[in-house]
Amino acid sequence: MFFRLRATMLKDLRILTRDRVGLTIMFVMPIVLAIVITAVQNSTFELVNDNKIPLLLCNRDTGDAARQLESAFQKLGLFAVKKADASLSDAGIASRMQEKDALVAIVIPRGYGSSVEARSAVVASQALASFGAGGDSTKKTVPAIENILLFYHPVLQQSFRASVQGALKSAMQLVESRSLLQSIYASLNEKAMPAAFEQQIVMNQSGITEIPVSRNGNRNIPNASQHNVPAWTIFAMFFIVISLGSSVVREKQNGSFLRLKTLPTSYLVALASKQLTYLAVTLLQTAVIFSIGVWLFPRMGLPALNLPSDGWGLLVVTLVCGWCAVSYAICIGVFADTQEQANGFGAVSIVLLAAIGGILVPSFAMPASFQGVIKVSPLHWCLEAFYGLFLEGGKLKDVMLNILPLLGITLLVQALTLYRLKRKNLI
């Protein structure tokens, strides 16, 4: 039996290595995807951290608060501020943005500074009265502050706009707090607050230290490669459905299948051979893509992929993911009647499973109604297992809860395949 299996694997390997299109889909496409997606995500990360968002600033006010706000925007470090003439109309701003001169524009309206100062004066007076330190205890209406106008180009995504708004609000908060403090200080001391003192009070003195939660105590902050390389490796593994599913259909369609059914060897040998051969392919895909992440990415200016400390865990997870991918591809091939069916359904189903499995969009960002569906996707469990090793610094025992559902799905797919073959009287 071993000789028959070896001969069948040799046959499958020969056919595979002569299928240039299949090899391209299995190896070149995922490598290109991993590089492109990592580069894109890395540049987005750098856009937020290193590069600056072009911002058109039109200050139509002449008050101190408006100048302070302008200065605060500059100091945020998030924007590359281009100053527009105060006389530029809203239509003029829109026109410059349509020319992609800037993706975001901020207009400080006329009267902004005086409205901030007026509000600070009233609030300061009420605050002092409540402290019993003088002030005006009569209930005056607190004046509203003129709204800052934020123009944005429609290409700017909602999440990006939210970041811009958050930055703007922190700058506005700073200006308003400073104005309020100055009012209170001036009321109490009848002189302006010393600048150094003001800095001490207003400016943030505490920083933020990021601590990624890991199981092994590693505090390396995950980079775009850590997120993308495992994800697109899983996608590549499952995308062998194009080559393997087609191979099963092709074998059924051409006469070789007819002859195989008349030979004194069970078709289970052919299935075992395909599983072992393509499992080896998934291991090779993983080795190639991970090697590129470790050695080639840094040479391309991308962050290097750091392999997990648990090498055996990585091997087991890769094997289980590969087996699931191979089982799925064979099942598609066994059920499909034509190569078009296998390729079409195979490719679309993998993209869908990747989408709901968190490869394209993080699982946690999915709507609540999708959270149950996510668990149906084998790619989700693969991703969770890889992330457990790559991002959380876990070991094999830590990702067992991801491996077990994956094995369950694999066995279910295998059972479906055998049921179909039995129904067709092939085994």
């Binding site: 028959r4 046959k11 008349t262 060897t265 040998v269």
Partner: protein, 249 residues
């Protein structure tokens, strides 16, 4: 060893979608060492009968015995008794003849050394030695037919089923293949052959049966059949017994 190579008793088969059976309670014995031709119009049930004899189809009733052993779906060992040369090219076009033979030899359960020896001998006999390591996908139709035949006879089967083995080949290839099949038969292999090439059948077969509407309507040697029916050749006999109507349905 049994003197009967193929023994069919009360064989009935019908496809799920069809109400009428393809054949019902069919009996057929073919002696060992014969070159038996099975002829009939399209849709007569020849290929279905061969598929039942090779285990590709499961009959609803009846038995098929090959060299004294009953054919059963899950008994794969009996499949080494026979070889099959289907009408379609039944091999891997991406592989060379040698690679195809190596794979199918393993599936026949042959030893590696025996596979190598038989493959070399067969490729020599069938004029494929020079292209033994070229991909079959690049071959002409005649060369592919010879590869198809080589795979079917690789394990030196006791019975060889041939379903239109020479479709689309030139005269030279046909002569070579018929010559080889006669050699094979002389060495002890029983042949069961179907074809619409009736001239070729006259050259090859030493016994034949006309099969129509799921039953055997005439059987004997060519001389016997021609004499009994007053026909001049097999084609005339064929038309005489099966009629002139199209049989595509």
């Amino acid at each position: 060893m049994s003197n009967t190579a193929i023994c069919i008793r009360s064989l009935s088969f019908s496809y799920e979608a069809q109400s009428l059976p393809i054949f019902k309670e069919l009996d057929l014995d073919i002696s060992a060492g014969r070159r038996f031709g099975l002829f009939g119009p399209n849709g007569a049930g020849k290929t279905t009968l061969i598929n039942c004899m090779t285990g590709l189809l499961q009959p609803q009733d009846g038995t098929v015995e090959l060299m004294g052993r009953q054919l059963r779906t899950h008994d794969t060992s009996i499949r080494s008794v026979f070889g099959f040369v289907p009408q379609d090219f039944s091999f891997y076009h991406e592989l060379s003849p040698m690679e195809n033979l190596a794979f199918f030899g393993a599936w026949y359960g042959m030893q590696p050394k025996k596979i190598r020896e038989r493959s070399k001998a067969l490729l020599d006999v069938l004029g494929l030695a020079d292209v033994a390591n070229r991909q079959v996908g690049q071959f002409s139709g005649g060369m592919k037919r010879r590869v198809n035949l080589a795979i079917g006879v690789l394990h030196e089967p006791a019975i060889l089923f041939l379903d239109e083995p020479t479709v689309g080949v030139d005269v030279q290839t046909r002569h070579a293949m018929i010559g080889y099949l006669k050699q094979l038969n002389a060495a002890g292999t029983t042949l069961l052959y179907t074809s619409h090439q009736l001239k070729e059948a006259e050259q090859l077969c030493n016994e034949m049966a006309l099969f129509d509407h799921g039953r055997i309507i005439a059987r004997g040697t060519l001389e016997q059949l021609l004499t009994e029916n007053g026909a001049t050749d097999l084609e005339a006999l064929f038309i005489q017994l099966t009629g002139h109507d199209y049989r595509d349905g």
